[in-house]
Every structure is written in C-alpha cells, then in structure tokens.
C-alpha cells in the first residue's frame, strides 16, 4: 500500500516538520519517509511497522524500526517522548481509531495524520450515481478486501478534533501534485476536491 502512495504526501509531511526534531513514524513501511526526513532535515527518526518484509527493508537501510502493531503496542513509548508522531493513511484501518489517536497525542508533542478523503467528489459520485462502494487510486480496494474499517472525510476529522478539544494547527489538502491550505472557511469545497487530507494536531 505504501508504494502506491503519492510522493507528494511525504513532501508535505516533511515540510510540516522542523529540522533536528525527534519523529516516530507509525506504519513506516519500507522506510521511505524516514529516509527522506533523516537525509533532508536531520531528523532523528524511529519507525513502527507490522510487516516483517518492511521491517527488514528498514533495517537494511540502517533505519531504526520496531516490529509491532500500533493498535496494541504504543504503550511502550513514554509520554511526549517524540516531538512529532506521524501516521500516514492508516488511521482508518484501526479497530479503535479514537484510542489510537489518543495514544499518538500522548506519545508525541504534536501529531501529523493523513487520511484518504472519503469526501472527495469522485468517491461521492461513485456511491451516489452508481450505488457502488468507491474504488479509486487512493482507495484501491473493494469492499470485501479493504483494510479500511473506519473511513472518514476531511470534514469528519475536522469536526472530531473540534469535539474532542484537539488543537488543529494546520490542515493541508492534496490533489495529485497540488496542495492547498484548508480552513474552516473553505472546508466544504476542499473536502470535495482533496484526495488526501493531512492534519497537524496537538
């Protein structure tokens, strides 16, 4: 899944992170983002990854990675032990996203989450006009084999943060190579035209 992800997303995440910080990448895949952050921003990176192959890949690259599941194993990281925790496109795949999110905010001083936006217009029309569960580039799986259990839209996550008193510092919408800042004022329109939403929260 990680390989299909747009490089653009990683660039946006990298831009959000200051140099010389300590970052935990949850679901770090083959370590592409960690490598980028280390080389370009001298960031002290750590990864958490479920798949054995990906863990091996990270180790080959000399990137520190812990094999484990974020759903059950975030407890091993002490409070505020990282400046930033990054969760790229996996929030929707957890059994209890709310609990995971709470844990991320405990471990990191700030958290960056990206989500595939279920509010994207192509996703909406697929369901509205054809009456079928949407399959797109960002959501490549069909209903019966998707790992995504809790799909949400940029607006949903926005509202969720508001409700739970989570501070939203910045939201960036990504559509192919274009990025745009999302605020409350343009939320409706950006929710329609962004494929991916990237949230910086604390």
């Amino acid at each position: 899944m990680k390989n299909l992800k747009m490089k653009k997303e990683f660039k946006v995440i990298a831009d959000l992170l200051p140099n010389n910080t300590r970052v935990l990448d949850i679901g770090c895949g083959d370590g592409s983002l960690m490598h980028l952050l280390k080389i370009e921003k001298n960031i002290e990176v750590r990864g958490l990854e479920l798949s054995q192959d990906n863990v091996q890949e990270c180790i080959y690259k000399g990137l520190p990675v812990i094999q484990g599941n974020a759903e059950t194993e975030l407890h091993q990281f002490p409070d505020k032990s990282f400046d930033y925790v990054v969760l790229s496109q996996t929030l929707q795949a957890f059994y209890e996203p709310e609990k995971v999110l709470k844990n991320l905010l405990r471990v990191g001083k700030s958290v960056i989450i990206s989500i595939p936006n279920f509010g994207y217009w192509k996703v909406r029309t697929k369901l509205l006009l054809f009456g079928e569960m949407p399959v797109t580039k960002t959501l490549p799986n069909t209903w019966y084999n998707t790992p995504n259990l809790h799909m949400c839209t940029i607006k949903d996550l926005f509202n969720f943060c508001d409700e739970k008193n989570i501070i939203i510092k910045k939201v960036v919408g990504v559509n192919e190579n274009k990025t745009s800042l999302i605020k409350k004022s343009n939320l409706e329109i950006k929710n329609l035209f962004s494929k991916v939403g990237i949230f910086l929260i604390s």
């Binding site: 000399g62 484990g68 091993q76 990281f77 002490p78 032990s81």
Partner: protein
C-alpha cells in the same frame, strides 16, 4: 571409544594449544572473592583492519564455547554458530574480525571448576567461586584491551550470550557501536530457574558427582549430566517443532518393544544429545553457569529498574526474538525493547516467525540471518562514516 579419563587427558593436552590470555588484573567477583592471573581462552576469525573498526564480539550461550565457526579443534565438530558466522555468512569473516571468549566458569580453557586451585593445588570442584553474568563480562574486557580494540563495531549473542551482551552494554555503555541481543531476557523467570534447577538436580543426584569431587578422580557424572542436557534440549524446541520433527515415530522398529529402550525417535534423540554432551562438557561447569544465569537480573543491579540500566546508552540496538521460543519469549525480549525505548536509546526490534523454538538462532533460519546481516552491514557503513567525522 576411549575411556572418559583418557578422554579428559587428551582434551587437556589439546586445551594447551588453544589461544589464551592470562588476565593479570585482579577481578573482584560479585560474590566478594577475587581472582587474578587467570586464563581466558578465546578464538578470533577474519582480520582486524587498520582502522580497527570491523571488530565483532560474540558472546556464547550456556553450552557454547569460543569456537564459533569452522571446525572446533577440541571436538572436531562444526563451530556452534557456523550458520551465521564465516566467509560469506551473515557475519562475514572476509569482512569482519570476529572474537569470542570462553566464559569463566566454563570448560574450554578459561578459568573454571576443573582448573587447579592455587591454594590447595587440587582441582577447584565446588571450591570454585560462584560467578555471575557480570563477572563473565568483566573478565572479557581485558581481551578487548589485549587485542587493541577501543570500540567494537558490534557485539552479539543469543540466549545466555544475549544476557552477557545486555550486561556488557549496561556496564560499558560506550564500548560497542551496535548490539544484537538475540532470544534472551533481562532476568531469569521462575520457569527458567526451575528448568536450570532440574538440570542441576540431575547432576547432583548422580552418585559419581560426589559433591563436585569427581574431578579429583578424573571421572564425570555422565548419567546426571546427560539428563541435564536432555532437559535443556526439550526447552530449546517448540511443541509444534518437536511434533513435526518426531511425532510418535518409532526408532528403527516396526512396533513397540514393550520395554524401556528408546522406542520413540524423540527418546533416541534426547539420549543421543545427552550422551554426546558428556564428552565435551564438565558437569560442575553446568552448575556454575546455570547459577550465573539464574542470578541474572539487570533491573536489580540498577535501582531505577531496566530503564536506568540503559540510561545514556549510545549503542544502537537490534533485538531479535523467535515467535515459538518459550524459554525466552517474545514478551521477554519486548520488555527489553520497551526499556530501551523508555531510556531513549536507538533500538530496532524484529520477531522472526518460526516453529523452530529457542534453537532458531543456531539454525539455518533465512529471515533471521537476512535481518542480522542487513543490520550489521548497515551499522558498518555508519560506524565508518562516524569515525571519518
């Protein structure tokens, strides 16, 4: 087959010809006694390069020795870690300089209970001081000094070797650039102690043992020692692994013999392992080394617990566990990872999925060996760069 007394005589002759360092610096042991001018037997493989940045220290397990790879000159069998160490292997001796020392308390040339007590001029037997994992590790520091190595590229070891390694990192936080503890634990559990006690009781119940005085007669309580080894072998395999390997298969016979001979293959295997062991190991050494393992509790040494033990740790760690290892479980290994994380150390962790149990680290286990190789090679590049800066 030569008599056991003859065998020991022959082994002692051979032990004369192995590499030994005479450690002159007195070593105050945890038990309060001091040893000095003692032999530390070791072996090296590969070549130390001019920058002295390619040295890897291997710590051996309970029944291991310094002969990691190639042919063990004493037993004429393959080195115990030939799967991982050697030319072109995961720990490539064409590239790296590999060092391994026999632990004190052992019986492959380092000071142990079979040696002559200078005070009585007789073999120590149970007069040998009780040693700890920390004593073993501190004894090996002199070897690094002797070889002129200030900082190791990596230190590694499985099982008790992993325990020595954790102790090494806690005692000497800046002596290894990287470390790979494999299938180990930061303290012995009740079950671990119980299994070791079973092994010790088997030896002590052998009438030949005679309170450890058998050494004076140049004999060996081989029945007890063989049972001790069998206990170990059961704990090194997983239930499923054992079932797959032996099941209820009979040993070269069509049906039950209605006797107590080794009808089942698993019985025959245990007997073979047990009695092969008595030819190369000393019963009192088993007592001393298992005791050292039982006493091992890294968090007890540091008042703040395990996190405190790894404070200010600069070493880069890779912890490896095996899914079917019930002797030193994934949880035992993960606790080390958690402590390292809590202390802010640089740590990686991988659980290898296998049915081969605790023994996995000694076997041809491709995923494990690939991970080990990937880590050490990447650490070498980093270490070289760091040294250049």
């Amino acid at each position: 087959m030569p008599s056991l007394a003859g065998l020991f005589f022959w082994m002692n002759i051979k032990l004369e010809n192995i590499k030994k360092l005479n450690v002159t610096k007195p070593l105050k042991l945890d038990c309060g006694k001091t040893i000095k001018d003692f032999p530390l037997a070791y072996e090296t493989y590969g070549k130390l390069n001019d920058n002295k940045d390619n040295a890897i220290l291997v710590f051996h397990a309970l029944t291991g020795d310094q002969f990691v790879t190639g042919t063990n000159p004493i037993t004429n069998k393959e080195g115990w870690w030939i799967t991982a160490v050697g030319p072109g292997k995961a720990i490539d001796t064409n590239k790296y300089f590999v060092i391994c020392a026999n632990v004190i308390g052992g019986c492959m040339g380092s000071l142990g209970p079979r040696d002559i007590n200078p005070e009585t001029k007789k073999p120590y037997g149970l007069d040998f001081p009780v040693i700890t994992i920390k004593d073993m590790v501190r004894a090996q520091e002199s070897l690094l000094e002797h070889l002129g190595i200030k900082k190791l590229l990596c230190a590694t070891g499985g099982s008790m070797g992993g325990m020595q390694l954790l102790q090494f990192c806690a005692t000497f936080p800046d002596k290894a650039f990287s470390a790979v503890p494999i299938a180990c634990s930061s303290s012995h559990s009740a079950q671990n102690i119980a299994l070791n006690e079973l092994a010790r009781q088997a030896i002590m119940a052998d009438p030949v043992w005679e309170n450890g005085k058998y050494v004076l007669k140049n004999v060996q309580p081989k029945n007890g020692l063989a049972v001790a080894r069998m206990v170990g072998h059961i704990s090194y395999l997983s239930e499923k692994g054992m079932q797959e390997k032996f099941g209820r298969k009979l040993q070269e016979k069509a049906d039950y013999e209605f006797s107590f001979n080794a009808d089942f293959q698993v019985e025959s295997y245990l007997r073979h392992q047990g009695y092969a062991f008595v030819e190369r190991f000393d019963a009192n050494s088993v007592l001393y080394i298992t005791r050292a393992m039982d006493y091992f509790d890294l968090s007890k040494q540091f008042k703040g617990g395990l996190v405190e033990a790894f404070k200010n740790q600069k070493t880069k760690f890779l912890i490896i566990s095996f899914s079917s290892d019930w002797l030193y479980t994934t949880k035992d290994n993960k606790d080390i990872v958690i402590a390292l994380n809590a202390s802010g150390a640089d740590v990686s962790y991988s659980e290898i999925i296998t049915e081969k149990g605790h023994d996995s680290f000694l076997l041809e286990e491709p995923e494990f060996l690939k991970t080990l190789k990937g880590f050490i090679d990447s650490m070498y590049e980093k270490f070289k760069n760091e040294k250049r800066i």
